[in-house]
Amino acid sequence: MKIAVCIKRVPDTEARIRIAAGGKSIDPAGIKFIISPYDEFALETALRLKEAQGSGEVVAISVGESTSGEQLRSALAMGADSAVLLKGQTSLDGLATARALAAEIREQNVDLVLLGMKAVDDDQQQVGPMLAELLDMPCITVASSATVENGSVVCEREVEGGIEVVEAPLPAVVTITKGEYEPRYPSLKGIMAAKKKPLAEKDAQLGSHRIEVRQLAPPPDRPPGRIVGEGADAVPELVRLLREEAKVL
């Protein structure tokens, strides 16, 4: 079985976000970049599927500039067999990213596509289902687990009020959320092996970007708050403020 895992290079979630001069992008200076955490869960899921089957192939694919090669090397060190960097600039237009991924995945002829349910930078939660549409594959979103049985992928997914167990015939696209397993750390052996694994570079077939960013701004400041008091004695005053001042109760 061949599994494609799509990963994105994003700023570390603890990074301090500053707006760059020009007010349309962030200033990358001093920021540590990582594989988007949900994409790491997707990669871990793919590696476990391959291990459970005892055979198969995992290919990591990323759309980004040459710096994204760093994250693809990490994916290879974690255990992916090969990687493809689709060189181009991603934007808020997830459909452009999905187009580039779809073009590559069609060529790769895969059985299963896994990706994080969202990238933690743009937080759009859209590339997975768009990719499925472009590939005309069924799509399961926000899955906390994925197993393969009899030509189908079976997933648990979060829905309002509980967990749903769903299945779809392969080939399929599944977007992954945090589940039972933490992503593995690359071993020293994995890091050494990654240097010899194939990392292909191609131009991303993004097409046109049709979301124009007019401005990027920091969030509005919150008005200064106040300490109502200490311990249980402060509770009646808090409730009065919530009812009469904030009017939220």
Partner: protein, 318 residues
């Protein structure tokens, strides 16, 4: 040109997020001089005309059994193709997040998710949406028609009027449904999701252990059915609470009317996920906890002492 609001029902009545979507659609339609059409896909029609209360002129109703992304997305896309829509608005709840990207891809147009404000300027729809889990806000325009947008729950306050919508039945698209539901395990008893709840009661490490969550549950219950539990990343990583409840950049970004942060010190990625709440209450033993810097109201104290009193005071008012 008109604006299409994708509406959802739960147990026969319009979901809160949908009343927000229709309200947002009304304000956009008024700005462009158009009408609001709502599209409701539902197993049983129920009271479709009531969607008019929030500003819909026409409600298109398609009947379909339980939710199926393939069928719903095809029905919406087919309907959009048949009309002349300036914009199509979804709610960024579980279903809207699942459907909007599929519909956008079918129509070959871009999608802006989680809008916190919509304005019409010079005939263009100007959308503001959070990035980096609310640590920055992007103002964007979509170079396509229709403009497909999902709106952040609890951000557009529902507004009612006397309007009554006309109801028109439309066909459900017949496409094969490829994803089969084998089983549904109810975990939270059908409660509202933390991402959509208008009141969130979140707990962190300061609670000292999962066995003390009954304190938060009691507060949630006292606050009624619009309230949901949330959790910090630390307690999810420790396995005290499920990831579905996590608030923050690696969990859910929430904008409720009222947010209680109990025993949460306020890591940057948590603050990012909840700072757009209308009112924030922090309860923490440490007076220097960063959470107090963004909280509107704070109590310095132990949750075990403060929460039972809080439940008692809130119940008194009812």
């Amino acid at each position: 040109m008109n604006v299409l609001a994708i509406a959802e029902q739960k147990d026969g009545s319009l979901r809160r997020i949908s009343s927000e979507v229709v309200t947002a659609a009304r304000s956009v339609a008024d700005a462009i001089g158009g009408s609001v059409h709502a599209l409701l896909i539902t197993p049983a029609v129920g009271d479709a005309a009531s969607v008019g209360r929030f500003g819909a002129d026409v409600v298109h109703v398609a009947t379909a059994p339980a939710y199926d992304a393939d069928v719903y997305a095809a029905t919406i896309a087919d309907h959009v193709r048949s009309g002349d829509y300036f914009a199509v608005l979804f709610g960024a709840g579980g279903q809207g997040r699942d459907l909007a990207p599929r519909v956008a891809a079918k129509l070959d147009v871009p999608l802006a998710t989680d809008a916190t404000s919509l304005e019409v300027d010079g005939g263009e729809l100007v959308i503001t949406r959070p990035v980096y889990a609310g640590r920055a806000f992007a103002t964007v325009v979509l170079d396509a028609k229709p403009r497909i947008v999902s709106i952040r729950p609890n951000t557009f306050r529902p507004q009612e009027s006397e309007r009554t919508a006309t109801v028109e039945n439309i066909a459900t698209s017949s496409v094969p449904s490829r994803v089969k539901v084998r089983e549904t395990k109810a975990a939270s008893g059908g409660r509202v999701d933390v991402g959509e709840a208008s009141i969130v009661v979140s707990g962190g490490r300061g609670l000292k252990g999962p066995e003390h969550w009954h304190l938060l549950e009691a507060l949630r219950d006292a606050l009624g059915p619009a309230a949901a539990l949330g959790a910090s990343r630390a307690v999810v990583d420790a396995g005290w609470r499920p990831h579905a409840e996590q608030v923050g950049q690696t969990g859910k970004t929430v904008s409720p009317q009222l947010y209680f942060a109990v025993g949460i010190s306020g890591a940057m990625q948590h603050l990012a996920g909840m700072r757009s709440a209308r009112t924030i209450v922090a309860i923490n033993r440490d007076p220097d906890a960063p959470i107090f810097k963004i909280a509107d109201y704070g109590i310095v104290g132990d949750a075990h002492e403060v929460l039972p009193k809080l439940v008692e005071e809130i119940r008194k008012g009812h």
